[in-house]
Symmetry: D2
Subunit: 139 residues, 4 copies
């Protein structure tokens, strides 16, 4: 199995289909079954107290698995999230980007599953863990 | 078991501690172990295609259980989400508020668990299901 | 939407395809989108301490949603569990059957989703909550 | 952070507190924050069709995180599972042991979180993924 889109093609395609999030997320690294995504942490991602909010962490997990699937199936598919489970384990450090390490665990005919471990940049203590299932529509 | 905050007190307290979301969510109904919350759907909650985004649904589920816990334990607690699982089952209808029906299933000494079923206003077809655990810090 | 199998037909069919669990589970009630299943609690379902074990609760949740799907799609399908999330909230009472109330939340072309709330017989305090997704193979 | 029980002590302690599962599971490897556990697959773990059943996979995930927590906190604790989410991704291969790779992601004062990836022995394709939370009672 190999990538259909490389890191640059994936970045451009995400900016094209989701122009509103191009300032939120960046692809740091991409292999055939892993992707590293970064939340470019800004005021709008924070909750009271100054740490990254739950919805922003959910969005980071969701976009990581989505981007990984796109990189493998190409521009034609319109996958939709069907399930997400997340554990929130530590407070993110304030003023730091959040880095998501995502593994593609399954890419089937109708379902794709990935998991995500996220930590504040420069730390190896996991802030949150997520697993997501995407449904891949028939072509 | 009974409520410590009524609907008006809860609404005021949420506006006080989360001023940035007072235009996003409203408490429709509150009983000793259920709460109905509404996402006041607006442009900023939508994803491409015009339906409510995943992160906005996550936020609605999260705030519903948080508000329910607050209504029972009062203003003193600072609960944090430790786990969330969600199933996304149907597309929300565009241009409609999203209504979350939340049940408090457990309110223990250290953990609270609630589940949420959400549907577009005027529809009885569930759009998403969520369950969340909150950790309640020692007093 | 209506049932393809009634309670008796479903009970017989489950006994036919899963003879090894006919002494473990019983269908108490069945409607078009709910099923009540009972774990006929016995020595082999218990863990040290005398309460129902986690794997037995998982099995009860799993068979409840499976039976509900079968009752709706009939004998032809061979659905497989793709996801399960469970919250364990209270100890079951020892020496009591465990009763699962299951709702079918979605029955789509490829995925079915149900949730389950279980309590010891005679109690209304939830012991556990589960939600499961089944993948329905193409015919 | 380091281990309180080594592999042999952990194996002995598991056999002592759970004598009924000593023929089901074995500790293959143990480090300060990972454990590898094996389901000694036998007739009683199978479902119709000859592959490992869902409840047996749940039990393997559950015991893996439990054993990992025990190895770190020692014999005194009596942790209980509060949450589990699992994705079932492929059929296990019949006639093979199932190997669970577990990582301890958090060991807090009241909650521990671990995740588990399982595959049939000799294969690197994940059969299932699980994450579990344990509540650690106050001493």
């Amino acid at each position: 199995m190999s990538l259909v889109l490389n890191k640059e093609e994936l970045t451009d395609y995400l900016a094209e289909i989701f122009p509103q999030i191009r300032d939120d997320f960046a692809v740091d690294d991409l292999t055939a079954d892993t992707i590293t995504m970064r939340l470019l942490t800004d005021e709008r991602h924070l909750r009271p107290g100054g740490t990254v909010s739950g919805p922003s962490m959910f969005a980071l997990a969701d976009v990581s698995v989505y981007a990984m699937v796109l990189a493998r199936v190409g521009k034609k598919a319109l996958a939709v999230t069907t399930n997400c489970s997340m554990d929130f384990m530590r407070k993110p450090e304030s003023g730091r980007d959040l880095i998501a390490q995502c593994r593609l665990l399954k890419l089937g005919r109708v379902l794709a599953v990935g998991d995500v471990l996220m930590a504040s940049e420069g730390s190896d203590k996991p802030v949150a863990r997520a697993s997501l299932t995407y449904s891949i529509p028939p072509r």
